[in-house]
């Protein structure tokens, strides 16, 4: 039987390069920073939800290339209402407006004057 094995690394990231879910490159620090922190983040390889196929270098959405999706739309008769990848702004433009995922949510425990959007 096959059992998946995970390893956890605590990494130093002072400028907050990465967000939850990103695939990143890490490097061992010459000296341990603390008891836990042993590595630092070098680079964000694949941002979360913006995946590139490593073999062909093309952008992917689920099991399809984005090109193929565009092609399909063109064959059916593309409409302006569809989503255009080239015009899309960088990730994070809805953060704190409609997309509340940058912090973990928690069970709401009190009704405050100022409501916290991360309380569920």
């Amino acid at each position: 039987m096959y059992f998946r094995k995970d390893e956890f690394y605590y990494c130093h990231d002072p400028v907050k390069k990465c967000k939850t879910g990103d695939i990143v490159l890490i490097q061992a620090l010459p000296h341990k920073m603390t008891k836990l922190i042993t590595h630092e983040i070098k680079d964000v390889v694949y941002p979360f939800g913006d995946i590139t196929d490593p073999v062909t270098g093309k952008k992917v959405a689920k099991a399809q290339y984005r090109e193929d999706i565009e092609k399909q739309a063109e064959i059916y008769g593309k409409l302006d209402s569809g989503f255009d990848y080239n015009k899309a702004p960088a990730r994070g433009w809805q953060d704190g407006k409609k997309d509340f995922t940058s912090k973990p949510t928690y069970t709401k425990f009190h009704v405050f004057d100022e409501e916290d959007p991360y309380a569920v």
Partner: protein, 229 residues
């Protein structure tokens, strides 16, 4: 969202209705066709906002838009009849299903996910790590913790204020003492240990403190005035 004078799908393209009188138009409008027809139009309008092509019916975006339309209609009913339990349950189920679809869309296409939130005016919050029913004890514990933390921070800030207020007089004394030491060392022709630079450094620190203190005093005055008013 949709005006009551809008025409349902099957009459919208008709030539005859365009030239018809106001009364006829009103009779054929969705105002007189019932809630079902209105709901259909709402759904269609939402799907048309994000449609890729004419036959786009079953992609993630369209499914989310369709569910959103259904939810909005149910919410309309709930506003009118808040004790309609069946509608409430259905709305909750649909919201959960939509959340699941949004979760998947976020995983494989983040840009589209954000665009969809903007277009359909949906708010997405991540699933909490543990979703449990809140107990009275937990709530009280958290509130007590917050209160204690407030008190702690307040005391720390007060102490910091006190220490900072003592910095000014100390720096003044330091400048005087350094100047005295230097003049005496020159007078008695001893090796000079206090340089001009050292004194200047301390003077600069004193100036900085003065500016900071002025700002603080002004803020305090403003607060007092506000309280008096």
């Amino acid at each position: 969202m949709i005006p009551p004078s809008a025409l349902p799908e099957e009459y919208a393209l008709s030539e005859e209705i365009k030239n018809a009188s106001e009364a006829v138009k009103q009779i054929f409008s969705i105002e007189h066709r019932g809630k079902k027809e209105y709901n259909k139009l709402v759904q269609k309008e939402l799907i048309n906002r994000i449609r890729r092509h004419q036959y786009d019916e079953n992609t993630a975006e369209t499914r989310i838009a369709r569910i959103t339309g259904h939810i909005r209609c149910l919410q309309d009913t709930l506003e009118k009849y808040p004790r309609n339990v069946k509608a409430k349950q259905t709305a909750q189920e649909l919201i959960d299903r939509r959340k699941k679809l949004l979760k998947y869309l976020r995983q494989y296409d983040y840009k589209k996910f954000e665009w969809l939130l903007e277009k359909l005016n949906i708010v997405y919050k991540a699933h909490p790590e543990s979703l449990h029913k809140l107990s009275r004890k937990e709530s009280l514990r958290k509130l007590t913790e917050m209160h204690c933390e407030d008190i702690r921070q307040g005391k720390l800030a007060e102490y910091k204020n006190l220490l900072e207020s003592q910095q000014g007089p100390f720096l003044k004394d330091k400048i005087d003492a350094l100047k005295l030491i230097r003049s005496e060392q020159i007078e008695l022709q001893l090796p000079i240990t206090v340089m001009e630079q050292d004194i200047k450094k301390v003077e600069q620190q004193y100036e900085e403190w003065k500016v900071k203190d002025d700002l603080k005093q002004q803020a305090r005055k403003k607060k007092k005035n506000l309280l008096l008013e």
